[in-house]
Amino acid sequence: MSKKVNLTINGFPVEIETGKTILEAADSQGITIPTLCYHKDLCVAGNCRVCIVEVTGQKRLSAACATPCEEGMEILTNSLKVRNSRKHIIELLLTEHNADCTKCYRNGNCELQTLASEYKIMTQDFIELVPLKKYSIDAYSPSIMKDDSKCIRCQRCVRTCAELQGVNALTVAHKGDEMKITTFLEKHMRDVVCTNCGQCINHCPTGALVEKNYIEEVWEAIANPKKHVVVQTAPAVRVGLGEELGLPPGTRVTGKMVAALKRLGFDSVLDTDFTADLTIMEEGTELLTRLKKALVDKDETVDLPMATSCSPGWIKYIEHMYPEYLGNLSTCKSPQQMFGALAKTYYAKARNIEPDNIVSVSIMPCTAKKFEAWRPEMHDSGYRDVDYVLTTRELAILIKQAGLDFEKIEPVKYDRLMGDSTGAGVIFGATGGVMEAALRTVYEIVTGREVPFDNLDITPVRGMEGVREASIKIENPVEDWAFLDGVELKCAVAHGLVNAKTVMESVKSGKADYHFIEFMACPGGCLGGGGQPIPTNPEIRKKRAEAIYAEDSSLTIRKSHENPEVLKLYKDFLKEPLGEVSHHLLHTKYTKRQRY
């Protein structure tokens, strides 16, 4: 039993564990104290001062987020002094903020706007500071736009980039009135170690950091009668989209989403899950090939552990931070890019459409996917494999613009040819999902039996622990894989780049003896991606994860190698995993980048 302290909030007694802050104590009583710099994912900064409260007997007000409760405290969260001061602070923030709300991408989902509206800041007596500063917008990155004129210096992005991601592309520079959030030497985001993960966007309370949107481009493509617009939807989008459209976190909206996409005018609505399954086929085979080389051929040059390559934020991270380990990355493209390459080859051929006339759009929970699609090496179809990447948030904007009542839409199924999905494909959306899907397939290929877990649920790789380890012992393999008999396949899963760093450091030091590691750039995996609905926090991500696993359980086929369309694809087009066509279309190489 932890110790408790007693205090009062607005006159009512509260008992709470020692060490809890005033903010947490108030929250336990159903009293919301407004915050801006505070975020549940991050360490406490205490710098915006919006959450100030009055502690009776003290002249100064205390920041509720940063002040621990003490025995006997009498706290007032809404005294006149608190209200007036808080109002002042909001007014001050507004003078520093380009409050051109109607023209802001975050209009309607901005914490500062909400606060200003709650406190009814109707007039602006103080002097506008924005016109006095030379602000410019950094829109050079294909993923992220940074507009300093909307920044309120809460430093949530800086803490996100450092604490959650261990990237530190963003920093605080200068002091006093010139203090600002910027990068090394104030370079463009494109030119620094930024991984494009977009977590800074998810944690930004205002419109200072937003995704680069391609909404108009997509509308134009849809409107062009010459173009055949195909759209793919990533696994995590179906458990996030609902939030942007008024549904509670964790609502599964797969069928509604497909229906909405059709009504928006996409010519074919297909599923990234399909190429997720394909990824498993390729990547699983690649893993087994590497293991064979290492164990049977005793080839010392084989790079193990093998690391997954689905997460473009992770890819950019390892390119910057651990370029010496690029050989350990699976050469598989991400499901998005596999889909893109196939859309303008296999699909085009099957449907008898000129690839030139296909516009390939993807809906992703991710901002790094925009950069990935933009990479010069992603043109293996002879065209740009994926033309436009929209985030979950952008899709919601399309749906709203089209005036679709999402609640009333009747669910429908994906279109054929690259629209089939298995449970294994779906769980790509959650941390550990790629690993679980891979194990379901690899184990069965090797042993001829299903993975020895109840209901195929490989629970050790599930959950929200930053780094998780699991191992599976291979016994009685089929003849082809006899050399794996008795081998303990050691796996690790890491999500959030700061955890990826931990794992990479242990690989680097030689402490880790894993064979296979799944890395996801974002906390919780793709379901917590930088393109997912705002806000994000541990509870929301947990709900989305539950939805992902519920989706998996609801499907009849739950193993990638049983996906009928994938089998057909191999039969008709690719012939075999790691075959020549695969090699050309589905695999890629990586670029060494600077760490500093």
């Binding site: 963003l170 920093t171 520079a173 910027t182 990068t183 030497l185 760490r595």
Partner: protein, 135 residues
């Protein structure tokens, strides 16, 4: 960082990256920290950095005239560096010589009770062709 500034008078991109590598911190944080401190310059400066105190007592006691004298003599404006990269002229906050105002620093050396005449003499010394008068 202070060491680098002492040797090279400012932190170049190269030296900031080196510092980051050396102590294993992000380059962005090196930059963020450097720009916090007024004595850590991240832009090229002259060999001698003149920092004239602009805080109240110095302002009252003729700082402006001293500044004019310096600007006139070196033919540069506030914040600029002479073309020969010898001097950079900056203003700074209280140097702690209010009883002997106005005051200025030339690198680490303090000069107080300045007048236009006095400041001209001082800078002449630093203008020594060999550049080895004060280092």
């Amino acid at each position: 960082m202070q060491g680098v500034v002492e040797r090279e008078s400012f932190l170049s991109e190269h030296s900031m990256v080196e510092i980051a590598r050396e102590i294993e911190i992000p380059a962005a944080d090196v930059y963020g920290t450097a720009t916090f401190y007024s004595f850590l310059e991240t832009k090229p400066t002259g060999k001698f950095i003149i920092r004239v105190c602009k805080t109240i007592t110095c302002a009252m006691k003729g700082k402006t005239q001293v500044l004019f004298a310096i600007q006139d003599m070196l033919k540069i404006k506030m914040g600029d560096t002479t073309p020969d990269k010898r001097f950079t002229l900056l203003e700074t906050n209280c140097l702690g010589w209010c009883h002997k105002a106005p005051a200025m620093l030339v690198n680490d050396d303090v000069y107080t009770e300045l007048t236009p005449e006095k400041v001209r003499d001082i800078l002449t010394k630093y203008m020594d062709k060999n550049g080895n008068f004060h280092n």
